[in-house]
C-alpha cells in the first residue's frame, strides 16, 4: 500500500513537496517503515543524512507510533526528527 509521509525539520530537505510516498507491504511495523525510509533516502536524497531516520519518531496527527506498532492503513504519517522548540 502507498503510504504518505510528511517531512519536518531537517528531513524536509529530502523532498521539496514536503512529503514522500512509500510502497509499504501490508501489516508492516513502524520499525520496517523506518528501514524503508532510510533506504529510500539513501537512493533518492543522498544530500540528507539518512542516519537521522534512526533517531526520528513516526507519528499520526494524534500520537507517536513506536517501532512495534503496525503502519496504519490509509493514514498520512509524519516523520519527526529530534525536536528543538522554544
Amino acid at each position: 500500500m502507498k503510504t504518505r509521509i510528511a517531512l519536518y525539520g531537517a528531513l524536509r530537505e529530502a523532498d521539496a513537496r514536503g512529503y514522500l510516498e512509500l510502497d509499504v507491504p501490508p501489516s508492516s511495523s513502524i520499525a520496517e517503515l523506518r528501514e524503508l525510509l532510510a533506504a529510500h533516502l539513501r537512493e533518492h536524497a543522498p544530500q540528507v543524512n539518512a542516519g537521522l531516520v534512526r533517531i526520528s519518531a513516526f507519528a499520526s496527527a494524534e500520537e507517536i507510533l513506536h517501532n512495534h506498532r503496525e503502519v496504519p492503513e490509509g493514514v498520512e504519517l509524519a516523520v519527526l526528527p529530534p525536536v528543538s522548540g522554544g
Partner: protein, 167 residues
C-alpha cells in the same frame, strides 16, 4: 478546557502577546502568576544568528500542549490556568518564540507549572528550529529525539530539570 489556552501562531499573521497570556491566566482565585518568554537571540554555539524559522507539525503539537497542560494540572494539585503559545514561520531577532504563563493560588505552584510546561514544550512537542546566520548559511538545530530508545532514557533520568543537555 477553558483553563488551558493552547496556540500555534503564524508569525506572518501575528506576534505572540504576553499581555494576552497574563490576562488569560488572571483569576480572582490566583495570587501567583509565573511567565516564561522565549525570544530569538543573536548568538548560538559560536555563530551570529540573524533569524530563526520554526517548523511545526501543528495538530500533534496542539495535542502535546494539551497533554502537557493535563500533566501540569495533575502535578501542581491546585487550581491552575495555563497558557502555551508557540510561534511558527520566520522570526527576526527579538521576536517572541514561545510564551508560557501559569496562574495559581500561590507562587510555588505557578513557578512549578510554568517550568514543567516550558521544559516539556522544548523536549516533547513536534517543533523544529532552523537558525539563519549572518554569513547567509542556515542550519537545523540538533534536538531531543522523540523515538523510543531516547524517550525511555529521558524518562529514566529526567525527574524534570535533570535533562543532560544545554538547550
Amino acid at each position: 478546557m477553558d483553563d488551558l489556552h493552547l496556540a500555534v501562531v503564524e508569525r506572518a499573521e501575528a506576534a505572540l502577546d504576553v499581555a494576552a497570556a497574563l490576562d488569560f491566566v488572571s483569576d480572582p482565585r490566583f495570587g501567583g502568576i509565573a511567565v516564561f518568554v522565549g525570544k530569538v537571540r543573536d548568538f548560538n554555539v559560536g555563530r551570529h544568528v540573524v533569524g530563526i524559522s520554526y517548523d511545526l507539525f501543528v495538530p500533534l503539537a496542539l495535542r502535546t500542549f494539551q497533554a502537557i497542560g493535563e500533566r501540569a494540572r495533575a502535578e501542581v494539585g491546585a487550581p491552575l490556568k495555563l497558557y502555551i503559545a508557540h510561534a511558527k514561520g520566520d522570526l527576526g531577532l527579538g521576536d517572541l518564540a514561545v510564551v508560557v504563563a501559569a496562574g495559581t493560588p500561590h507562587r510555588a505552584e505557578a513557578f512549578r507549572a510554568c517550568r514543567l510546561a516550558i521544559e516539556a514544550v522544548k523536549h516533547e512537542a513536534p517543533i523544529w528550529k532552523q537558525e539563519h546566520y549572518v554569513d547567509g548559511d542556515s542550519a537545523w538545530s540538533e534536538g531531543c529525539s522523540l523515538c523510543e530508545a531516547s524517550a525511555e532514557e529521558t524518562h529514566d533520568t529526567a525527574g524534570h530539570g535533570g535533562h543532560g543537555h544545554a538547550h
